[in-house]
Symmetry: C2
DNA sequence: TCCTTCTTTTGAATACTTCAAATGACGACT
DNA sequence: AGTCGTCATTTGAAGTATTCAAAAGAAGGA
């Protein structure tokens, strides 16, 4: 099990060390690609009084300081992950919103560049693969007779 | 100016031909990458009684029948475009949300196919380039003294 | 022209996220 | 160890983009 130095992470980023913040980081470690709501539920297991608003605040602080990254897939709620700095992309399930990491086999940062930047100062290339995850693949393709009558 | 056969487009897709629908298609022709709100404003110039709800309905119908495509960039409102069927990507301004088309990307092909699909049935690879558009590049980098005191 | 079905309207509701003011706690400094 | 200023958290509400639902209206095949 990777030992997280939550204290060092926070202090190194210039943030005060508090229980809610440590708990959010640990939640993200256990739940990669978790939504704010999922993080809140996980944090509540050990710190029942931490509000959802605080989770949003913390996630905002973490992403602002580069300790976390937010993923905003289309119409699904935002997800958060601790993997920052490495160049990886995501597989997103169009049905349930589940996310899996895809490592960029070509290695270094933006593996793609536009042929015409239209005057934009391009900072990042984001690749999202849309599809059905293992569970939804079966659920959607072959719904049980019961589920039809919902 | 390209003459749009709105009647043929709608009938060909199995949709009834109505003024609001023709107006939405024409709005998208004049405003590529427009938001629902922007489409509504444009439509209202000729058909003031068309509601925003109707615009949402029409956009939903058009995307459902493959006549239009929706782009959902992070936390910006959804945008719509008539360009469908060709494989192109987008440049999105992180500051104002402006969108420009990118016809093709140069770089390593492996990035457009996941090395490990994690059991997903991948349907599409979407590439989004994030950056600052021409206007925002200057506005953000060198704000005028006046704007600082807002 | 009639009639069925699809569209549009109106009004409200939802989900996710952010804003704001007051209370509370971290930690730099003494 | 104690003080104090600044930053965090809580509480409660507001906001934005979008969707739901029921009733009235229009398209177009027979």
């Amino acid at each position: 099990m990777t030992q997280l130095d939550t204290h060092g992470m926070l202090r190194g980023a210039g943030l005060r060390v508090t229980e809610p913040r440590r708990a959010v980081i640990e939640a993200l470690e256990g739940l990669p690609h978790a939504s704010a709501d999922a993080v809140h539920a996980r944090v509540a297991q050990t710190l029942p009084d931490v509000s959802l608003q605080t989770v949003y605040n913390v996630l905002h602080d973490l992403t602002g300081r580069g300790l976390a990254r937010s993923i905003e897939p289309g119409d699904h709620p935002a997800r958060y992950e601790l993997r920052v700095g490495d160049n990886h992309h995501h597989l997103v399930c169009t049905h349930c919103g589940a996310i899996a990491d895809v490592d960029c086999v070509v290695g270094q940062a933006p593996c793609l560049t536009p042929d015409d930047d239209h005057g934009y100062a391009v900072a990042e290339a984001e690749v999202t693969f849309w599809g059905l995850c293992g569970d939804c693949k079966h659920a959607v393709a072959a719904p049980s007779p019961v589920s039809i009558h919902l």
